[in-house]
């Protein structure tokens, strides 16, 4: 079935919860209100015409600093400097969080994408782990890396990082840690190195147009 037809079925079911349908570059996307995401997912899974028995992917997104004009001027993330120190910024963070759900039906062989948006202050979406088991870990990962809470999740612990980790690294304003749990995470400090680095010779300027090589 076409994505638009599925969206119409969905809109019929959840009413005001369906916020719109966009087609353009990339996949067609149905925007759904956070409150009705569980209803929408349950409907899409159970309805005979949709029959989405598998959730392919759940992706959390931090829309902070996204260039809405498509000019590629989005905010650049922070890293370590070449001397291994964390970079810092004064920029204030804003922008919503988003969650994208990519669904697939093995029987009918069609795909569908749902997307929700929540504000940075709320940062909480109802869980769909009761609908598809696989959402359980995907949501834990999104909580871990982006700090999006999933209300009603049975076991919302960090997935990849340790419980004592500070911050959510995939946020655009995340500042790299220099140390965690007494383990040094910043790079080598050349000032204390017994083998001092060779003085840098004159580097030719990189050709314009391409980003210089990183790392």
């Amino acid at each position: 079935m076409e994505a638009r037809a599925i969206y119409e079925l969905l809109a019929e079911k959840i009413g005001d919860g369906a916020l719109g349908f966009t087609e353009g570059t990339g996949d067609p996307v149905a925007d759904v209100a956070p409150a009705s995401i569980v209803d929408a997912c349950t409907f899409l899974r159970d309805d005979e015409r949709c029959d989405f028995d598998m959730m392919m992917c759940l992706s959390g997104i931090d829309w902070d600093g996204y260039d809405e004009n498509g000019k590629g001027k989005s905010v650049s993330i922070l890293g370590y400097t070449d001397l291994g120190e964390p970079e810092t910024t004064e920029r204030a963070s804003d922008g919503d969080f988003g969650v994208a759900y990519d669904l697939y039906s093995h029987r009918l062989k069609h795909k569908f994408t749902l997307r929700v948006r929540v504000t940075r202050e709320v940062a909480s979406v109802p869980t769909v782990s009761g609908v598809w088991e696989t959402a359980n870990w995907h949501e834990r990962e999104a909580w871990d890396l982006l700090g999006i809470r999933f209300a009603g999740h049975p076991d919302l612990r960090r997935m990849l990082l340790d419980e004592s980790w500070v911050g959510h690294p995939l946020r655009k304003d995340y500042q790299m840690p220099s140390e965690w749990d007494a383990v040094r995470l910043s790079g080598r400090d050349y000032a204390k190195n017994p083998f001092p680095p060779i003085a840098p010779p004159e580097t030719p300027t990189p050709p314009a147009g391409d980003k210089p090589a990183e790392g």
């Binding site: 260039d67 498509g70 590629g72 989005s74 093995h106 088991e133 995939l170």
Partner: protein, 391 residues
């Protein structure tokens, strides 16, 4: 055994069963453990040999790849895709460039597509060989490991000749592949390797391991994953096909040059026990090696002339604003990329849906009630790669 259990047996004097306190033994398997295929950690709660609860703990190899994707440009990030599934790096390259080209709307020349198929399928064979070998190792058979690594070395040699690297290649670029075929001898060598694989090596492995009585006893009817479980846990790849579901992204959601070729999707038949047991998952991989050989032969025999890159190598790549989810069939299953572009040279967000991550989750359900040895068999048959789970 708790007091109730003793009573339930009916053997003891019912009135005078002493108060017995029992608790489950917590067992910590990993991160340094020979059977966890890397740095996975499994927290087990066991009663003797029986496992009552499995809690996977990962992140010991969390290398921040998704963060890096937002920092480096599109072409530079191909390097990091190699390091997801380091057993089948070509498949990972293929998945990423497919997603990127879908976002860019970029066409790829025929020759490039064919070379991609050849490289990815060779890589798939290598990955399956390692998977079968380590599964055998988990079952205590050490020798097949070395036999399969012997053939893997041949594949690495072939790929080194075309891509320049021994294990991690950075071979595919947006719009094609990095290098053309080095010479005609390479094509001949690949074809002769494929012939050798089909006629000699796969039967050899079957004799050595697949139809070994002890091996069948260990794996048949062990840790059966039903199709329903597989769907709801999002299992894909040989794990799903081992459960008897005929699904393969190469056929059902075609990409690249795959629609042109003729190949079959092997599924678990339940030859040795129930459908979806460890032996089925193992044997599906063995059959897939043969299908990959078929694909390679077809792709090389119909290799068209012409360019192999659509974009000049030194030219920067820009992707328009928009979001795509693109998926390909990696050696472990469905490898998807959720890619958001903002019109620039760097991805705004790149979420990787890795097959091992989803496949591993099934352990929390299927692993319960099994013996410790069977759990090792289950983890081995899922064929996880920690680089892909933790990213």
């Amino acid at each position: 055994m708790a007091t109730e259990d003793v009573k339930a047996t009916g053997w003891a004097d019912q009135d005078h069963v002493p108060e017995i306190k029992s608790e489950l033994l917590e067992l910590n398997m990993g991160p340094q453990h020979p059977a966890t295929h890397g740095v996975l950690r499994l927290l087990l709660e066991t009663d003797g040999e029986i496992v009552y609860k499995v809690t996977p703990v990962m992140g010991y190899l969390h290398r921040c790849a998704e963060k890096i994707a937002e920092g480096v440009n599109y072409k530079q990030w191909v390097v990091y895709t190699d390091r997801f599934d380091y057993l089948a790096p070509m498949c990972c390259n293929h998945a990423y460039v497919t997603a990127l080209e879908k976002l860019m709307g970029q066409e790829v020349p025929e020759r490039g597509e064919h070379l991609r198929v050849v490289a990815a399928e060779l890589s798939r064979i290598a990955s399956h060989l390692v998977s079968l070998a380590t599964f055998g190792l988990d079952m205590g058979a050490f020798t097949p490991l070395l036999y399969m690594f012997r053939e893997r070395e041949e594949i690495l040699n072939l790929l080194e000749r075309i891509a320049g690297g021994r294990m991690l290649y950075n071979y595919m670029v947006p719009g094609g592949v990095r290098y053309d075929v080095p010479d005609d001898k390479w094509i001949k060598d690949v074809l002769s390797f494929v012939d050798m694989m089909e006629t000699k090596k796969v039967p050899e492995y079957n004799t050595l391991l697949s139809y070994n009585k002890i091996f069948i006893e260990r794996t048949a009817n062990v840790c059966v994953i039903s199709p329903e479980d597989a769907f709801t846990f999002g299992c894909t790849g040989p794990v799903l096909r081992g459960s008897g579901v005929s699904f393969d992204c190469r056929r059902d959601d075609p990409y690249g040059a795959y629609p042109k070729f003729d190949f079959e999707i092997p599924v678990g038949q339940g030859q040795m026990g129930a459908v979806g047991d460890c032996w089925d998952r193992y044997f599906v991989r063995m059959l897939e090696i043969e299908q990959s050989c078929r694909l390679i032969r077809q792709a090389l025999e119909t290799l068209p002339d012409g360019p192999y890159q659509a974009i000049e190598l030194k030219k920067p790549v820009k992707a328009p604003m928009g979001a795509v989810y693109s998926r390909t069939e990696s050696a472990k299953g469905e490898l998807g990329h959720y890619l958001i572009g903002d019109g620039g040279q760097t991805a705004f967000r790149n979420k990787v849906r890795s097959p091992s991550f989803c496949n591993l989750q099934v352990v929390t359900k299927v692993g319960v009630g099994q013996m410790v040895s069977d759990l090792v068999a289950l983890v081995g048959s899922l064929d996880i790669v920690l680089g892909e789970i933790d990213r």
